[in-house]
């Protein structure tokens, strides 16, 4: 899921202090799991704004805020509340915020959160980055552990000189990604595979921005 964290309220307030009325939009997916854009956070935001003398014309938690058409349909019943608001605040990730920007061309839209990374939730609201969405998966070669993401240097051939007793020099609380890969390959009896592995230089062209995936449409065209 996309991991988000709340912006400092004061930072948000600097952006929106000129407006009197707001519509608040959350998301039931990642932002709800992160505790940054579900019902409780919308309520909290509403109260904070009202305590500053502002009006909240309505709130809504979208099913999937990054789904533009679905969100558009879901928001139809809120037309009046949204029209009445001078500004929309989005409590989800940057993708959700930009859905609102696309749907409401004439209205200012501000993000309440910072979007951080694609994360695995290991425990309640504890998230680790394990995949960087690099566009060309190498997990088939590295025992299912991504060194590009879990090693701060993205090393492809083994630990650096900074590895200390199996831990990372940059983040000493973390195990070295390459020691983890080594241990796993050893457990799977695949050390020879690891020993012979020469990785090709990463194809960064695969993650050139902005990325698009239109495969279905292109197929239909053909």
């Amino acid at each position: 899921m996309i991991i988000t964290k709340k912006k400092d309220f004061q930072e948000l307030y600097e952006n929106i202090k000129g407006y009197k009325s707001f519509f608040l939009l959350g998301c039931s997916e990642c932002a709800t799991l992160c505790g940054t854009g579900g019902e409780p956070e919308l309520k909290e935001m509403k109260e904070a704004l009202e305590s500053l003398g502002r009006e909240v014309t309505g709130t809504f938690v979208a099913k999937t805020g990054c789904q533009v058409l679905g969100t558009k349909v879901e928001l139809k019943p809120f037309k009046e509340a949204i029209d009445k608001a001078e500004c929309i605040i989005v409590l989800s990730c940057g993708a959700g915020t930009q859905t609102a920007v696309e749907l409401y061309e004439d209205k200012p839209v501000y993000p309440a959160n910072d979007s951080m990374f694609l994360g695995n939730m290991t425990r309640l609201q504890m998230f680790d980055e394990r995949c960087s969405l690099c566009g060309k998966c190498i997990l088939d070669k590295t025992g299912g552990i991504c060194p590009l993401t879990t090693c701060p240097k993205g090393l492809l051939h083994g630990p650096c000189g900074g590895m200390k007793d199996g831990h990372c020099e940059v983040s000493p609380e973390l195990q070295c990604a390459w020691v983890r890969i080594y241990e796993r390959m050893k457990r799977l009896n695949k050390l020879d595979e690891l020993r012979n592995l020469m990785m090709e230089p990463k194809e960064w062209s695969q993650s050139q921005k902005p990325r698009r995936q239109y495969e279905k449409k292109e197929k239909t065209k053909k």
């Binding site: 051939h157 630990p159 199996g166 020691v179």
Partner: protein, 293 residues
């Protein structure tokens, strides 16, 4: 005889290190180069060591050449992408630099520009392959070069890494990628160094033992606790302690000289690399005590 010719013909080499200045005043670096001239076979010029921004290594190498000492260009992958690295390598060769030491490089979080974007477009093994390609007249994409390089390609290895096996696998990959000589992380335990060398001697590469002078027992303990891949044995710490504060540095110099002598006499490695870290002026004394000059 060049550094490469000496190593390849089986002669014992001595290398040291000089860091370019943070600024444009090169007087201190030049002083260190002049101090070492005629006493060492080559000087490594560091590449924004510890991720602290300084004058670049390439310029440092050219200055080193101007003052009559053969440089080893340290190249890290932290600050340049594959285009920048290759382009600097071509320039380095055209300017007379013949030895290159390929490393991934300390992370920016260790340095003085912590908000910098770490590049790591490729890493040490990838860079070794790139330099091998340039030596064959091809860039990374296989495009032909007008005039190829003929670098003597080096890499680094940590014989005291724990766990060791992943490090040894990487050492093998570096050899496959084209490394012909290695400089090691600082070593202090000669018996363990011999053990590493029994493994390394399977391969047709030259190994230069890295040595860092111990200034005190406190420094030795600091290295053990804080610096990955360095292990100072207790008996050396005891020796430094017994020497007392005033004689600790002198004892440290003796230890380094003794190790050099042993590595040389017993032919444990093919040379030594002295990382003086602020004590460049002591290198001649160490070499004298080791009986090598």
């Amino acid at each position: 005889m060049t550094f490469r010719e000496k190593l390849e013909s089986g002669k014992f080499v001595i290398t040291a290190e000089a860091g370019p200045p943070k600024g444009t005043d090169i007087s201190e670096m030049v002083h260190h180069i002049e101090l070492l001239r005629g006493k060492v076979d080559a000087i490594n010029i560091t590449d924004n060591q510890s991720a602290v921004m300084r004058m670049n290594s390439l310029s440092g190498c050219v200055i080193c050449l101007q003052y009559g000492v053969e440089p080893v260009l340290q190249m890290t992958c932290r600050d340049r992408n594959r285009i920048g690295l290759q382009s600097d390598l071509l320039g380095a060769y055209a300017l007379g630099i013949r030895n290159v030491l390929c490393m991934t490089g300390d992370h920016v979080s260790a340095g003085d520009h912590k908000d910098a974007k770490p590049v790591y477009d490729i890493e040490s093994v990838g860079l070794l392959r790139v330099v091998s390609g340039l030596n064959e007249g091809k860039d990374m994409m296989g495009n032909a070069l007008k005039g190829k390089t003929d670098f003597f390609i080096g890499a680094v290895v940590t014989p005291e890494a724990n766990p060791l096996e992943p490090q040894l696998m990487k050492f093998e990959k570096k050899i496959k990628a084209g490394a012909r000589f290695f400089q090691t992380q600082a070593v202090y335990d000669m018996e363990r160094l011999k053990e590493f060398m029994r493994f390394a001697r399977q391969y047709p590469v030259k190994i230069i033992a890295g040595l860092v002078v111990l200034k005190s027992a406190g420094m030795a303990n600091f290295l053990n606790t804080n610096v990955p891949g360095i292990r100072v044995p207790q008996e050396l710490i005891d020796e430094l302690k017994a020497a007392g504060k005033e004689k600790a540095l002198d004892t440290g110099l003796n230890i380094t000289a003794r190790h050099i002598r042993q590595i040389y006499e017993e032919k444990i490695c093919d040379g030594v690399h002295i990382m003086a870290i602020g004590m460049e002026d002591k290198v001649p004394v160490i070499l004298e005590r080791a009986g090598l000059i």
